[in-house]
Each structure stands twice: as structure tokens, then as C-alpha cells.
């Protein structure tokens, strides 16, 4: 699963404790860069000064790392830390394209063969590990083989399941051959490497227990900074590596500080104890904005929220699925005041969406999708056309079944709690009875989401990959409990389109296919897509960068976009 979209992850993001497991592997989201509707409010002074070398940048998070060994990075804390000490094979540009930046290990853009099955990776000759050894083809092959080995237990295993063979052409060149054409594969190479010369004798099943990735002294790296300290639950430090093979960064020392919760983090930003926080709770945005010198970046990120319907009769009393009619689902979409949710609950940090493609990405089907404007009267009409009639209590009925269902979400997530209440209210106005129900996340995942047993859920996907492929979420090949199509949705046309979408590497052709997908999915509505939303980033007054290096909220880890070029003032 290249596109590891995980609700597990995602949900946890927003629970009380806020552990951010979001971004597994590495690949990430889309490229809505310039599209961000709520413009970033970066103050102009950020770009006027000349870069200075030296100084310390402190950024914070509310969870500790697990391991920065790229094979095992499955949460954003570890991934954030790894970014400072590990160079990526390829990086993403602001649009989400895979590129070889000066700080990437790759020397040139990824080459794809005419048949779309063979990828050639060329490494930079000068790239070195922190112990002085060169980064070679052996490292790339060893890394991919370790990811693929079930014994190693990597959460990123699915990224490389389409790989057929790996060939070392020379020390700097690797050929990767896939079993089939699979366009999203390129993003699996937006990844970091492990050193073959250090770990080659470690058995795959023991790699997880190896100090590599956990003990700074035993973690050989290849990035601009090196890992110098880890005080568990308190902080990590990264110091500029004097032997780094590329152009040295401006910032001397980076401190990754761990706070107990988001509110404490916000206070620390205001006090100046930290310079960068990745997620300001929406309720605190106004307070933070009032403090001089602090910039708040509001652009939404690579996440979207939705209401998913269940289509399996066993999940309803009398085995009657109220959502069977397409017009009924369209009526629900029409009855929901999504803009109202964005304005009032998200405080403007969101954008409406109608298909599972982030607005502004190359695959965004734009006007090809069916739009749903908030219109209760139109919704009522659609419901009547689908055979629903008002019962004596005002609730619609059809063939003797009342239109009443339970909407589940995870307890402790205050945003979803509010949104669920709005949904309840909106649908009540058109004669549908909704009972919102909050459930503890782990039991919810275990008892409802994984086995696909629920009437309807309010949930999010984090698109941790810039590729639009969504087969694993919507195709009937991926039914529960092993697949992610948890609502048992089946649409033959879409099933076929998803396969077509990844079976060619020609982006223009793919774009056409995803337009078709967008049209079909927004009309048929396996979900009601609500909005893309984000986590407002906060930057203290000391942090400076040129406009070209500004953070990019829509990208995975975009809060550190081009951080090699940032600098701090004293």
C-alpha cells in the first residue's frame, strides 16, 4: 500500500492526547501550494533580511520519537526528527512532484522506462554517511530489500510490494523493475536510506531491537545535521554536521522539544521557548495572532474529513440500508451546511471538497465533479423523488422503515463532536434522524472500523502520498477486515477506473482518468466528502526564510519545507 492512508493514525491525531501518528512511511500528499485558500499570513519581514549562519532553532511537538530508523518510522514525531539527520533519496517540490534537490541523495530526476516498469535511480557521487563512507547503490538495494522483508516488520512494507527485482548497475546507479505498471510507485522513493556497511550483518528480525535509530552515538546518518542527544520525553538535539557532503545549512543547532500537550506548546511559542509549532488548536488561533512577531500559517494540509456510509445490510436493523438510493446520498450532501462547518468550527482553516482529491493537486478534477450547495429544500425534493415520505413524527419513512441512523466518531475529538452535532441538526431539518455516538478510539477501531460494522462514521483520511490513487479505499477488492473500504462500497465502474489510473505513468493520461473518477465518485457518493482541513503552523519571530523557502502546508512535513535554507536571528 503505497498510499498508506490510515485512520488509525489519523484519528489519533486529534484525540485528547494528540499523539500524531499520521505520516507513516514518507510519501505524502498533494501539491495544493498556491491554492491554499486561506492565505498564509507570513509577515513580510521574513524575507527581507540576509541569511546569517549560526544560532539555534527550537521546534516542538507533543509526542516523542519511537525510532528514526527509516525502516520503522511510522509516526510524524520520528519522521520529523529523521528529516534533520537523514537526506531523502528524492524530495518533493512545492507542487508535490518528485525531484532531485541539491540536498537529495539522487543526482538526477528519476528515469522511468518506456514500458513504465523500470525505474533508474542515480546517486550523487559526493553523498557520504556521517562516518565518511560513501552512499552507494548497495545502500539503496539494502534499504528496499529490508522494507520488503516481512521478517523486518517495517510498516512501510506495502510501498515496495510491487518491486520485482533490483539491479546494481554501478556504485551510483540502481535499476528497479516492477511486476506491473504502477504509477504511484515513484513516491516510494521519497524515502530515506539505511547504511548497508553498518547494518548488513544484523538479522532482519533483530533490526528493530538494534540501537540504530535509537542511540544517537550508534546512528550513522547522511543529512545536514547529526543527531547528538535524545533525552526521552524531553528533547532531542541535532548539530550541524561539519562533514556533511552538501551545502551546509545556516542553522547550527536544532532542538526538538517535547511538550505534554498542545496548549502548553502554544504558551511556549508565546513565551519564546519554542520557535515553531506544527499545530495550533483552532480555538487558540486568535490569541496567538494577537502576539506580535508570531506568524500563523493557516493553509489546510493533506487531510480531508468525510461521512462514510455503510452499504452492508447486516449492519442495520431489519437489514434495511437507508443509503441505498443514490439520490438519498445526494440529498444528504445537499442538506449539509459544509461551509458553515468550515467557518464556525474550523475557523476558516478548511476548504470544501467533493471528491477524494485535494484541491489544487494535478489530479484535482476541478469543475468535472458534481457540486453540492447547501439547500435543504432541494434535499427534501431529492428524498421525495427517492421514495421517502414524512411519517407522523416528522421523520421520513420508506417501506415501513424510519430514516434514522447512528453516526459514530471518536470520543475526545472536539472538532468531530461539533461537526456531528451540526450534521444531526442539518439532517433533522430534512426529516432524517441522526444519533451521534462517541466511542473510545481503540475500541472503535477494533469493533467497528476494521470489521466494517457501523451504520455511518465521521472520519478523516490523511493522504500521506501525493498520488491520487484511491483503489484501496474505494475498490470492492479491499473489503474489510483486511481492506480499507470499510463501508463495503461497490461500484464496478470505479473499480475499473482505479486500476486504469495507476496502470499508466503518463500524467496527462492519468489526469483524464482521475477526472472520470472524480465525476463518478462525486455523483455516486460512497462518502459525503466534507472538507480538506489543516493544522495551523505557528512561527516565532526569530525564524527567517526567503519566500521561495516558505513552509508549504499542503505537503507532508511541509512545515519544514526547505529548512536547509532557513536561518534564525539572535
Amino acid at each position: 500500500m503505497v498510499k498508506t492512508k490510515k485512520w488509525i493514525a489519523l484519528l489519533a491525531t486529534l484525540t485528547l492526547f494528540g499523539a500524531l501518528f499520521v505520516g507513516c512511511s514518507n510519501t505524502k500528499s498533494s501539491e495544493s501550494s498556491t491554492k491554499a485558500p486561506t492565505g498564509s499570513e507570513v509577515d513580510a519581514s521574513k524575507s527581507t533580511d540576509k541569511p546569517v549562519d549560526g544560532g539555534t532553532l527550537t521546534f516542538s511537538s507533543f509526542s516523542d520519537i519511537v525510532s528514526i530508523n527509516p525502516i520503522y518510522v511510522d509516526n510524524s514525531a520520528s519522521s520529523d526528527a529523521a528529516r534533520f539527520v537523514m537526506a531523502n533519496l528524492y524530495d518533493l517540490d512545492r507542487k508535490g512532484n518528485l525531484v532531485a534537490e541539491p540536498w537529495s541523495l539522487a543526482a538526477a530526476p528519476l528515469e522511468v522506462s518506456a514500458d513504465g516498469k523500470t525505474y533508474t535511480v542515480k546517486l550523487k557521487k559526493e553523498a557520504k554517511w556521517s562516518d565518511g563512507q560513501p552512499v552507494t547503490a548497495d545502500d539503496v538495494i539494502f534499504t528496499i530489500n529490508t522494507f520488503r522483508d516481512p521478517k523486518a516488520g517495517s510498516p512501510g512494507i506495502g510501498q515496495f510490494d510491487k518491486v520485482d527485482k533490483l539491479d546494481k548497475v554501478d556504485d551510483q546507479t540502481i535499476k528497479i523493475t516492477l511486476k506491473q505498471v504502477f504509477a504511484p510507485f515513484q513516491y516510494s522513493l521519497f524515502n530515506q536510506l539505511i547504511p548497508y556497511h553498518v547494518l548488513k550483518d544484523v538479522k532482519p528480525e533483530q533490526l528493530k531491537d538494534n540501537p540504530y535509530g535509537k542511540d544517537p552515538a550508534k546512528t550513522v546518518t547522511n543529512g545536514a545535521w547529526k543527531w547528538t542527544e535524545w533525552k526521552q520525553k524531553q528533547y532531542l538535539t541535532f548539530d550541524k554536521d561539519p562533514n556533511y557532503w552538501g551545502q551546509k545549512p545556516h542553522i547550527d543547532k536544532v532542538v526538538y522539544k517535547i511538550y505534554a500537550d498542545q496548549n502548553t506548546e502554544v504558551s511556549a511559542l508565546i513565551k519564546g521557548d519554542t520557535d515553531l509549532i506544527q499545530a495550533i488548536p483552532v480555538t487558540q488561533i486568535e490569541a496567538v495572532k494577537k502576539k506580535s512577531g508570531i506568524s500563523v500559517l493557516l493553509a489546510p494540509g493533506p487531510l480531508y474529513e468525510y461521512v462514510a456510509f455503510n452499504f452492508k445490510p447486516e449492519n442495520f436493523p431489519d437489514k434495511f440500508v437507508p443509503f441505498t438510493g443514490q439520490k438519498t446520498r445526494q440529498a444528504i450532501a445537499t442538506a449539509l451546511n459544509r461551509q458553515g462547518m468550515i467557518d464556525n468550527i474550523l475557523k476558516g482553516t478548511g476548504t470544501k471538497l467533493n471528491a477524494p482529491f485535494l484541491p489544487g493537486t494535478w489530479a484535482d478534477p476541478g469543475s468535472a465533479v458534481t457540486e453540492y450547495k447547501y439547500d435543504p429544500a432541494a434535499a427534501k425534493k431529492l428524498l421525495a423523488e427517492d421514495g421517502w415520505v414524512a411519517g407522523s413524527d416528522g421523520i421520513l419513512t420508506k417501506d415501513g422503515h424510519r430514516f434514522s441512523f447512528e453516526l459514530q466518531y471518536n470520543a475526545g475529538n472536539s472538532r468531530r463532536q461539533q461537526v456531528a452535532a451540526v450534521i444531526q441538526q442539518n439532517l433533522k431539518e430534512v426529516g432524517i434522524e441522526v444519533t451521534p455516538k462517541a466511542i473510545d478510539f481503540s475500541s472503535w477501531a477494533d469493533n467497528n472500523l476494521t470489521p466494517g460494522k457501523f451504520p455511518a462514521v465521521l472520519l478523516s483520511w490523511s493522504l500521506n502520498n501525493p498520488d491520487p490513487d484511491g483503489e484501496q479505499t474505494f475498490s470492492s477488492k479491499y473489503f474489510p477486515p483486511t481492506g480499507q473500504n470499510m463501508g463495503w462500497y461497490k461500484n464496478d465502474k470505479l473499480d475499473k477506473l482505479w486500476v486504469e489510473g495507476y496502470s499508466t505513468v503518463d500524467q496527462a493520461e492519468r489526469k483524464k482518468i482521475y477526472e472520470e473518477v472524480g465525476k463518478e465518485i462525486s455523483t455516486d457518493l460512497p462518502y459525503v466528502f466534507l472538507y480538506q482541513y489543516g493544522q495551523p503552523e505557528g512561527l516565532g519571530p526569530r525564524v527567517k526564510y526567503a519566500e521561495a523557502d516558505a513552509p508549504e502546508a499542503s505537503l507532508p512535513y511541509g512545515y519544514f519545507f526547505h529548512i536547509q535554507n532557513w536561518w534564525v536571528t539572535q
Binding site: M1, T4, K6, I8, A9, F17, A19, C24, S25, S63, D64, V66, S67, Y72, D74, P150, K151, G153, S154, P155, G156, I157, G158, Q159, E205, K208, D209, G213, K214, Q232, K233, Q234, Y235, V255, Y259, A260, D261, N263, T264, S267, A268, I270, K271, D273, D440, F441, S442, S443, A445, D446, N447, T450, T482
Partner: protein, 322 residues
Amino acid sequence: MTEYFIRRVLQSILVLFLITLITFGLIHAAPGGPTKIFLAPGLSQEAAKIQAHNLGLDQPVAVQYIKWVGGLLKGDLGYTFKNHLPVGQILWPTVGNTVVLMGVAWLLSLLIAVPWGIYNSTKEYGLSDQTASFVSYVGFAMPTFWFGILLQEMFALNLDWLPLSDMWTMGKEGNIGNLFMHLILPVTVLTLGFLAAYSKYARSSMLEVLEQDYIRTARAKGVKERRVIFRHALRNALIPIITVLGLDLPILVGGAALTESVFNWPGMGRLFIDMAVAREYSVLMAITLITAVVVIIGNLIADILYAVVDPRVQLGKGGRSA
């Protein structure tokens, strides 16, 4: 006394065993176990099985428990599932940090609350007593995290006199002055909470004793009031206070998760929450064990202190007074 002590220790071991057994079972019965959380969603069924096997999670709970106890007897608290770090390495520093924070707050509140409560019992409904009542109401009613945030807002952000959070400023670890500055706000919050309870206990238990016949007798004999209070009343009044203190002792290690969170104190309360969310059974078990040990020790100390302050209490001879 020695016999009593040995018997108590043996009983305690049995109790500890039962506590760990029950906790182990409960933790494993909770939904969303480690196989769900640790095994990443991207893993295939086959890969998931290999991982569960490597972690020993494919064995029956009973076998896992016996292995855990076996390790414990050798002094091995086990490793975290997620990244195979020794539990002790994560746990012990947080225990120390919590003891520092809670110990200071607890001692400070004792030093204030007990004398204050005694004084107030002699001047019932005086200004000092009214003040104590007010402080108690505030202490009981105000959520600690909220009081903490108020103090931070005022003293760390607006006035900028004190550090906002953490135990040390980075690079100043071990500097006592630095620690002291970091302690002021969280200790204030915690002390207010303790003070509310302890001053009430001290006052009411003194008042109860002061109404006893022997106090009247002492006063009738013409014993000086100071001597009545300290010699006759206090020792008897201390018994219920000691009970409360003994039962509260586990707070010293259990910590106050909320206060630790607000002040970002790297203590055990916070660790427990993090580890519960992450389903790190071995860390949770270790914390439970430590807490249970302290609870038992706290009770034992309280029982022994009864005998010290009140000669009528005879340990190990059945029936105790008070």
C-alpha cells in the same frame, strides 16, 4: 513487633502478586491491544504474525504473565514493544523527577497545613480560620490544570518572572537555582490542593479531641492551655492525620498527571498516560508495581507511626484504637 512486621511483609508480597495478576489481565483484556497498535496497518497478515511472534504476543496471556514475573524476579522490567528500549531506562528518571516535585509540594503543605490547622482549632471562626476555609474551598474547587494555566499566564507570560514549564532550562541540568525557579509554579498549584485537605483534617481532628473529657479534666486541673494543646490533644489528634498522610504517600510517585502536563514536568504521571495510549504493557506494569509497593509501604509506615504517637496502639496484638 518483629513478628508483626514479618507478617505484614509476607502479606504485602501476596497483595503485590494479586495486584500484578489482576492488572496484567485487565490490561490485556482492554480493546485495541498491542497487536493492533504496534503492528502497523501497512503490514500484511503474514508479516503481522511474524511481528507478533517476535514480540511474544502470540502466546497465551498466562504464559506472558509468567514470563513477566520471571523477568521481574531477576530485576528485569522488560522492554517497550514499540522500540525495544529497556523499561528502566525510561521509567526511573521520571520517578525521580516526580518525587522531587511531589515531595517538595507535599512537605511544604504539611509544614503549613498542620500547624495552621492546629492554630485554627484553638481560634475557631477567627480571621485565620476563615481564611483557611476560603483557601480550602478554592483549593478543592479549582481544577489544578486551570490554576496552573492562570499562574503561567501571569508569572511566566505577562510578568516574565518565572519559567513557563519544564524542570530545567536546557543546558542547566543539575543547577539547583534553576530547578528552584522551575519548581515555584507547579509546587504552588499542588500545595494549594494539598493544603485544602490537610488543614481541614488537622483542624477538625484537633477540634474533636479538644471536646474530649480528658481535655476538660486537664484544663480543670489548671494545666496551661499550651500544654493542653501540645501535650494532651495533639498526639491524639495526629492519628487520623497520619492515616491520611500514609494513604497519600503514593501520590509522591504516582504524581499528578495534569499538573505534570501543564508544566511539562518529565514525571511518571505523564509517562503513564503516554504509555497507556501507546499500550506499552511492560511500562504500565512497572508503574503499577511501583505504585502498589508505595501504597503498601505507606500503609505500613502509618501503622507503625500509630504506635509511636499513641502508646495505646499495640501492633500485632489485635484490636487497635483510634
